[in-house]
Amino acid sequence: MAATHTRKALSRYLPLALLYLPIACVGSVGEAPAGPEAPPGGPGPTPGGPGPSPGNPGGPKGPGGGPPAPGAGPAACSGNVGTSVVRRLTHVEYNNAVADLLGDKSQPANGFPDDGEAGFFKNSASVQSVPPLLAEGYLNSAAQLAERVNVRELVACDPSAAGCVADFIQRFGRRAFRRPLKPDEGQRLQQVFENARTKADVETGVRALVAAVLVAPHFLYYVEVGGQDSGTPGVKKLAPFELAARLGSLLWASLPDNELLDAAAAGRLTTREQVLVQAQRMLKDPRARAATNVFYEQWLGVNELENANKDAQLFPQFTAELVEAMREESVRFVNHVIWEADGKLATLLSAPFSFVDSRLAPLYGVSVPSGQGFQRVALNPAERAGIVTQASLLAAFSPAVETSPFKRGAWVRTRLLCQELPVPPNEVPPLPEPKAGQSNRQRAEQHTSAPGCNSCHTLIDGLGFGFEQYDVLGRARKMDRGLPVDSSGEVTATSDINGKFNGGAELAKLLARSEQVRDCAPTQWLRYALARPEAPEDTCSLQQLKRSFASSGGNLRELVLALTQTDAFLHYRRPEGP
């Protein structure tokens, strides 16, 4: 777990002048990735064998990119799965859920204290306590939403009429709790209604009901206890309604709709084929775009843009409007690649075009007619390729004044190559002050060329130096502090793309053809889907997912569907202990 944390930590915080004595480096990252020719299941943990240690979930593993092994179909994982976690709705899910339930799109969770962070993803159960400030947010939001509700429209009958409210309780409760109410649960909600009706009036009764449901633990938490035995000790199949809730979270970042709940109720969410049919249906819904954007923004770190900070005198153009444009470019680009173009990871990483509006046009050195919003434009292929060289990320992973090859390099190493950086040692010696007449790169090299430092730093520096051609806003530049920019870099310690390159576009193209990167995408998706780092018991599912992604040619739409077919997604393992 610590390792997951550190992965994010380093990618985000690696400072300009990091000088860490890399005592632990070789051991950690040097569990070198096996070559692509390694047999499936060979380099990585074999099914049932020792998996990645929990402390090193992202360590380079065998790509498993060969043809599917015999019998590697969906049933090959013997129902194994890591320990499941009960988590609460993320704030995004809360906002979407109240929109689905009440038609209220006010996004009240934006006023809650932020979701915790662990790793790249904001749904990690390990940091999801509910402090009083958040509980107050839930209560206030519930009351305010309930006050705003049009009672007649919501209940769709005369609430004074016999049976109207009782029906509403069943209907509304099932949607909110992602399962039918138990008899006693329905009774207790009826009591909430009666209590308020008696003290106030019928309308208030319905409002009290709505407010109560919105603070119920059954609404706020994904409570899973599992269904039928799976045949593997300690592991159960998810109960159908639990599975429906997971699908809602994964594909819509919201509640299941009635069709999905009906399928669960009717026993039509049992086989993998049935799950697939529902997942395919759900992916066609516009909600799937917004929901998968949540994953891509967090995985790729576009969401870090909100914390980006530039010196106002040097970069007065770095306004909230420009930041919004940068973010929107990436969202539009990701959406386009996944939903309108070929859906391929390689395209995401190296497409020769993007979407630019008049705010962004000067940054990319292109012209776009103003007042017409975002336009698809071809970018200079020597400078730009795919998401890797977009301004959103180049700006998000840069400090306020100078660029940071370390932050940008760590971004590639941790997010795209799924490798961890070791925890740096304590007590690092102070750094030399910057000198005049020194480029940013020269200064960085001075810090990191020392023997003992560079074995670690080549893991990030060699990647990060390739981005020196972009300034902290992501603009292409030829000069840095009066010296020509040197964007030559080197990829090291990967399974398949080691070698020299020059510039971000070349690096992007290398990444786009890397099997290690191709294997990383399923790993990140699985972590997000399970709201936890992968455990050894998930290895088989993960290998399967990698193989399936490879055989689809790296199709990201197919990847999400394949994820719903894995044992890790479909099963439940109760935590040990009382």
Binding site: P131, R188, A196, A212, P217, N307, N309, A400, V401, E433
Partner: protein, 444 residues
């Protein structure tokens, strides 16, 4: 984007409060009766710690020096603790890197999975003892906390239960002085009695507590913890709704008998995340904190300036790099400017506390204020040799106006001394392996 902007209820609620403040609340809290015996505790976090060659306070000098000089007027009520180690952090290896050690500072425990604190923080231990006669057992204030992971999580109610800070003074005002958890009042009707007597929040809260009890038995212990935290938070709110001992509202007599409980002025909402607004947000948070003390609303508060890996660029000081970039070899002339500015904020806080008469002295005589930070040398990110301050007093327990140099001594020893100051007779704090006991020289 400021959260204030997103909250459509805030403005009208504040307008409503303005009207109410003018007429004053008539009720006096039971808490006011205990005014003379109120003790208070404040911890303030400053990011990035000390740097190489910093001008540290010298024993016997007539000034706290070029950096901490702004606090000179209070020198007789301040002790500098120089050379201490955040020993539990330094020992928690490999753990996480030095950028993520905030949970260590006040808990003195080994972190859980490198993510969360292993136990409650000092302020929360104290709040359990002195927080009972106030509306809020403790209040957490913050200014532009960018990171919400181990870099930014300072205060922990207990193991793995973080208490996030209020970063928006306007929302904080609403929460503290606006009786937000009281009966629902529709916006836009200043001074009008609430037309709806039925409290949706109370009803929902009661229901939720009942439901939580039904699912707890089905959950494994590790999952139950997270649901339990929701339950505990609801219970705390329930106590507030039931009119637990709390302070009077603005306009009523102050808790300490020293004049009126002041209605703080917060002015028009602004973007609380914009760097240039950092000083204004800081001032407002200090104002709200002291007013909360005066009104008996809380006795324990924290104020967190940013986070480890400081992202503030201090534009009002002419500093161009973020505090963290400075610690990584930016211009070394700039870091002292930043720290001097923080010393000025402490001077402002101490001045406000001293301006409130209480008993025979002032509120500062009944309030312990701690300055904590994570690095003893920000350039090397060292968790050793830190410079912290303890200010104010409680019942004359602390010996103030000195510099205590204790190279290698654990900050846990300071924590246990402060516990003792508040009448908690513990011999150690946090991990006992890193605590040798109270600091005799700090005790009067």
């Amino acid at each position: 984007v400021t959260t204030a902007k997103k909250n459509p209820w805030l403005c009208s609620r504040r307008a409503f409060l303005g009207g109410l403040g003018a007429v004053g609340f008539s009720h006096l809290s039971p808490g006011a009766a205990h005014a003379q015996t109120r003790k208070r505790f404040v911890v303030v976090y400053v990011p990035e710690g000390m740097w190489t060659g910093a001008d540290r306070p010298a024993a016997g000098a007539t000034t706290l020096g070029s950096v901490f000089g702004p606090m000179d007027p209070f020198r007789s009520k301040i002790t500098a603790l120089d050379g201490f180690d955040i020993a539990t952090a330094a020992a928690d290896r490999p753990g996480v890197d030095e950028h993520h050690r905030l949970p260590h500072l006040l808990s003195s425990t080994k972190m859980v999975d490198g993510r969360t604190s292993g136990g409650p923080t000092l302020d929360q231990r104290i709040a359990k003892v002195i927080g009972g006669n106030s509306t809020f057992e403790s209040l957490q204030f913050g200014v532009q906390i960018v990171y919400k992971d181990g870099s930014g999580r300072l205060i922990w109610k207990d193991r793995a239960e973080q208490l996030p800070a209020m970063e928006d003074p306007w929302q904080a005002y609403d929460r503290i002085f606006g009786n937000r958890m009281g009966p629902a009042v529709p916006p836009g009707q200043p001074g009008q009695p609430p037309p709806r007597s039925f409290d949706l929040r109370k009803s929902a809260l009661d229901y939720s507590l009942g439901e939580i009890a039904t699912i707890q038995p089905r959950l494994a212990a590790s999952d139950r913890m997270r649901v339990d935290s929701y339950q505990q938070s609801l219970r705390e709110i329930e106590k507030r709704l039931q009119g637990a001992p709390g302070g009077p509202a603005p306009g009523a007599p102050a808790a300490g008998g020293g004049g009126a409980c002041p209605a703080p002025t917060v002015g028009a909402p602004m973007d609380v995340k914009a760097k240039p607004n950092f000083p204004m947000v800081a001032k407002l948070q200090i104002d709200l904190m002291v007013a909360s003390f005066q009104c008996g609303i809380t006795n324990v508060a924290s104020l967190q300036f940013g986070n480890s890996v400081d992202q503030c660029t201090y534009p009002w000081l002419g500093v161009r790099r973020s505090g963290h970039d400075l610690s990584h070899g930016g211009s070394r002339a700039e870091q002292p400017k930043v720290y001097r500015w923080y010393a000025e904020q402490f001077a402002y806080l101490l001045g406000k506390l001293q301006a409130v008469p209480e008993g025979a002295g002032t509120m500062l005589d009944n309030t312990v204020v701690m300055w904590v930070s994570e690095f003893g040398n920000s350039f090397s990110h060292s968790l050793r040799n830190v410079l912290w301050f303890v200010m104010g007093n409680v019942g004359g327990f602390l010996k103030q106006g000195q510099v205590i140099k204790a190279p290698g001594r654990s900050v846990s020893d300071l924590h246990v001394t402060v516990l003792n100051a508040f009448g908690i007779p513990d011999k150690t704090f946090g991990d006992p392996a890193h605590c040798t006991g109270p600091i005799a020289g700090l005790i009067a």
